[in-house]
């Protein structure tokens, strides 16, 4: 009885509490926000003005050092650096490779994660948990090491070629080809997708699956009509994080990819330090960011939609 009374009085002063806690919430969330604002937001904004040809103020030093700098000729700047990049055949090759690797690797990662998670959900058993545990292993390995390990494994004198040569087969050297970037990207991205999707699948109530089974639904029907729709949100989250990660990746394509064309992450770094063309380097970064943002919107939309469906908004 007493606790009910207390709850009621809490409800009564609710609007007051909401206003006060709103302030508290904002105050508490300020430190990380400020950090991100100062060290991510501001550099990106300054970088944007630089890419548009604003060469004074904070951009003065870099404009003096860099080569092929375009200076603004309108009040809003100039698109000359953007035009440089878009008309560069190297960039077009890089962009093509980046999109190809991103799409193919993401599809492979999601298909593998789905296959393993669905198997674990419907059949389970020892093999399923071995598969899940194996797929988590790359999480334990720093990226530099994974990249180097894969480099040696699929390289000219690596294990794959050694193994196949025992049978007189000439296994292709995958290192320094786009195939190796895909292998490396899948390898490093798999744990996150497995964790997301398998926990989404495990959260689906047994009763639903059992009921469908009792009605005689085959596994394929259960997968298409129950598992996939109910795990949609974690699947989309896994997909968008994987794609965004691969899109901007650096270490994997640097160690595993060909010199030319290469992925944009490596090219951004090349243009910035090796070719000393900082403006064009930043233009590429913004193009990658644009692509990543469109994927990010998918992620946010899917989360908001699922929150709305479950009545949290």
């Amino acid at each position: 009885m007493i606790s009910v009374g207390r709850k009621k009085s809490r409800e009564g002063s609710r609007s007051n509490i909401v206003a006060r806690s709103s302030l508290l919430g904002l105050a508490l969330s300020l430190p990380p926000l400020l950090l991100v604002f100062i060290f991510v937001g501001i550099p990106i904004c300054i970088g944007l003005t630089f890419s548009l040809g604003f060469t004074h103020g904070p951009n003065r030093v870099i404009s003096l050092i860099g080569q092929q700098i375009h200076v603004k000729n309108h009040w809003w700047g100039t698109l000359a650096a953007y035009s440089d990049v878009v008309h560069d055949s190297r960039f077009l090759g890089d962009l093509g490779l980046t999109l190809f690797v991103t799409v193919l690797s993401t599809v492979l990662v999601i298909v593998m994660a789905l296959a393993i998670s669905i198997y674990q959900r419907l059949i389970g058993g020892k093999q399923a948990s071995v598969l899940v545990t194996l797929s988590i292993v790359p999480l334990f390995v720093p990226v530099v090491i994974s990249a180097w390990a894969i480099h040696t494994f699929y390289g000219g004198d690596g294990f794959m070629r050694s193994l196949f040569s025992q049978f007189g087969i000439n296994f292709p050297t995958l290192t320094s080809t786009p195939a190796a970037i895909v292998i490396g990207s899948v390898w490093t991205a798999l744990p996150f997708s497995i964790l997301m999707i398998s926990s989404g699948m495990q959260a689906i109530p047994d009763a639903l699956v059992e009921a469908a089974r009792d009605c005689g639904a085959p596994s394929s029907k259960i997968i298409v009509n129950i598992l996939l729709p109910l795990a949609k949100t974690p699947i989309i989250i896994a997909m968008s994080f994987t794609a965004i990660g691969i899109l901007g990746s650096f270490t994997i394509p640097l160690f595993l990819g060909p010199n030319q064309p290469t992925m944009l992450g490596v090219e951004i770094s090349n243009f910035f330090s090796s070719y000393n063309r900082p403006q064009q380097s930043l233009v590429m970064a913004f193009i990658v960011f644009l692509a990543a943002s469109s994927i990010a919107i998918l992620y946010v939309w899917s989360n908001v939609k699922s929150a709305r469906e479950s009545g949290r908004i």
């Binding site: 909401v18 806690s21 709103s22 508290l24 919430g25 904002l26 508490l28 969330s29 430190p31 990380p32 926000l33 950090l35 060290f39 501001i42 550099p43 990106i44 970088g47 630089f50 904070p58 870099i62 198997y119 598969l131 545990t133 988590i136 292993v137 999480l139 390995v141 720093p142 530099v144 090491i145 994974s146 180097w148 040696t152 494994f153 193994l163 040569s165 390898w187 964790l195 997301m196 926990s199 949100t233 974690p234 965004i244 901007g248 650096f250 270490t251 160690f255 951004i268 770094s269 910035f272 900082p278 380097s281 590429m284 970064a285 990543a292 990010a296 992620y299 946010v300 989360n303 929150a307």
Partner: protein
């Protein structure tokens, strides 16, 4: 049933073997090199085993100091990240304040800007703040990569603590602080642990930004690894890789149960 089961089981076993090859093959292949004297293509076995490379790594002063730097900076970064982010995570998880969702999305979109582009853009700011080549500069650049883990995962953990448990404790006469310490914090601890591990790994692995800011004065293990693979024999890189992977393996081993139990997955669903 049996007729159907056998090909299925066969396919499954094949899948397990392929996965073992795909996932473990490269790391085992590299790790074994750390103990071998010479290994010629196309032999499947090395011509001999030795511990010589280990002493070479430990006696190399550059590599030793890189190890020291890494083991000093990463814990400091994690500690700073906890101080900066955990209160925010609590607020996001527990208080329905205005701009809460915008906060989450803001942190996320900062994370989707390509890191390498951000480091190119950050140089200007770092020069004007005199952070280039400084220890603080390295800490900050590594800190940026940990924020998403240290806010999102604990936020979900705090949100998951049942309110009625706390109210029951309050009704039984426990002080607000006691309730927070013994119930809220205690129940959110697995999530915080996962966030600590993920942040440590993010900081410990960070190479590009650290190189840009730290070189040529401050080198860490991953930045050293980039030059190592070009300038040293593969065996030295293998030894260094094992050393570099050791902390991750230890930490993730500790948190494995919680990571696989869904703490990480929960953190990445916006609520």
């Amino acid at each position: 049933m049996n007729k159907l089961l056998n090909p299925a089981r066969l396919a499954l076993n094949a899948a397990v073997i392929l996965m073992i090859f795909f996932i473990l093959g490269p790391i085992v292949w590299l790790a074994v090199h750390a103990f071998t004297s010479n290994w010629q293509y196309p032999d499947l076995y090395p011509s001999g085993f030795t511990l010589h490379w280990w002493s070479q790594v430990f006696l190399d002063s550059a590599l030793a100091s890189a190890m020291k730097n890494s083991l000093i900076t990463s814990p400091i970064v994690v500690l700073c990240s906890m101080i900066v982010c955990l209160p925010a995570a609590y607020a996001v998880g527990r208080i329905k304040f205005w701009g809460r969702r915008a906060f989450m999305i803001g942190i996320f979109s900062a994370n989707s800007f390509p890191k390498i582009g951000l480091f190119a853009a950050i140089a200007t700011l770092y020069y004007s703040l005199n952070l280039m080549g400084t220890f603080l500069g390295v800490i900050i650049i590594q800190l940026l990569g940990t924020i998403i883990y240290m806010t999102w995962i604990p936020a979900a953990a705090f949100a998951g603590v049942p309110r009625n448990l706390e109210e029951a404790a309050r009704d039984a006469g426990a002080s607000k602080f006691t309730v927070f310490r013994t119930i809220t914090l205690r129940m959110a601890l697995p999530g915080i642990l996962v966030a600590i591990v993920m942040s440590f790994l993010a900081a410990f692995d960070e190479a590009q930004g650290t190189y840009l800011v730290g070189a040529p004065t401050i080198f860490t293990m991953p930045t050293e690894m980039y030059s190592l693979v070009q300038n040293y024999p593969i065996q030295v890189a293998a030894v260094f890789s094992i050393l570099l992977a050791l902390p991750s393996v230890l930490l993730l081993g500790l948190a494995r149960k919680h990571i696989m139990g869904g703490q990480l997955a929960d953190g990445f669903q916006l609520k």
